[in-house]
Subunit: 152 residues, 2 copies
C-alpha cells in the first residue's frame, strides 16, 4: 500500500471502466504492472468489488433520512432484522444514548413512515428519531490517506 497503490485506488474510484493502459499512463507504469498491482489490491481486499453508482432518485429513493433507533435490549445480533428492509441502506451500532443508526432511502415520506412502523416491530426497539435530509451537499468515496509516519 504505497503511494502508487493509493493513486490507483483513487483513479479507479473516479472511473473503474478505464483501461489498464490508461491507468498505467497516469501512474507511470506499464499495462502489465498496473494489472498486477490492481489484482493484488483486490486479492488483499483493499478493493472489494467493482460497482456502479446509481442515482437514488431514479430508483425510488428520493427521500433520504437517518433514523436513530433507541433500544431496550442488546441489538448486537440484529443485523438481519434491519437488512430485511430494502429501504435501509446502512445500519450501524453506535455509542451514545441511541443504539442503532440507520440510513434510509424512500420515494416518499409516506414510505419513510412505513419503514418507521416496521422498525418498531423489531424486538427491543424502544423509540425512533427520524432526521430527514433536505439537501445533500455531497456523497463521495473514502479518500485514501497516507498513514501516520509513526515515530520509531
Amino acid at each position: 500500500m504505497d503511494r502508487v497503490d493509493r493513486r490507483l485506488v483513487e483513479l479507479l474510484q473516479q472511473d473503474a471502466a478505464q483501461s489498464y493502459s490508461a491507468l498505467g499512463q497516469a501512474v507511470g507504469l506499464s499495462t502489465g504492472a498496473t494489472h498486477e498491482r490492481v489484482r493484488k489490491l483486490r486479492e488483499r481486499g483493499v478493493i472489494r468489488r467493482t460497482t456502479v453508482e446509481v442515482d437514488p432518485a431514479a430508483v425510488g429513493g428520493g427521500i433520504l433520512s437517518f433514523v436513530l433507533v433507541r433500544s431496550t435490549s442488546w441489538m448486537g445480533d440484529s443485523a438481519e432484522l434491519f437488512a430485511a428492509h430494502p429501504e435501509i441502506q446502512e445500519a450501524h451500532i453506535i455509542a451514545g444514548s441511541a443504539s442503532v443508526l440507520v440510513k434510509v432511502r424512500t420515494a416518499t415520506t409516506e414510505q419513510l413512515q412505513d419503514v418507521l412502523r416496521r422498525l418498531y416491530e423489531i424486538e427491543g426497539v424502544g423509540s425512533t428519531e427520524a432526521i430527514v435530509v433536505l439537501q445533500t451537499f455531497f456523497e463521495r468515496p473514502v479518500a485514501p490517506r497516507e498513514p501516520d509516519p509513526g515515530i520509531d
Copy 2:
C-alpha cells in the same frame, strides 16, 4: 425503467466488471441488446459511473462517525467548506434542531478530534455532537424499487 432495467442495475451493482454477455444471459437478452440498455441507463443518468468499493480500514478510515453540526446561521452555501476536509465522506443539510449531518472516516479518534476542531473553525458553526460507530452491520447500494402503481 422497467423490470429488466432494474434487474440490470442490481446485477451491475453486485459486479460491474462482468461482461455484457453474462449480463444478457441473466436477464434473457442478447449481448447487443443488453449493451444498448446499459448505455441508455448511463445516458439517462440512472447509472452515474463505474467505481470500485474500497475497504475503509485499509485506506486510513477505520473509525466511522456521524457528526451533528448545529449552526447559528444559514449553512446552505457552505458545501465547499465541508468538502475541503477529505475525512468527510458525506454532508447533508437536515431538518430538525441540528443543521448539518456529516459522515466522517478517520484512522484514529485523535484524527476525529482534529476534524471536530476544524469544523468549529467554519463560520457559523455553533456546536457539534459526534456519534461514534462501534460496529457497522452493513452498508450496501441503493436497492432499485418498483414505483408505486399510482391510483388513476
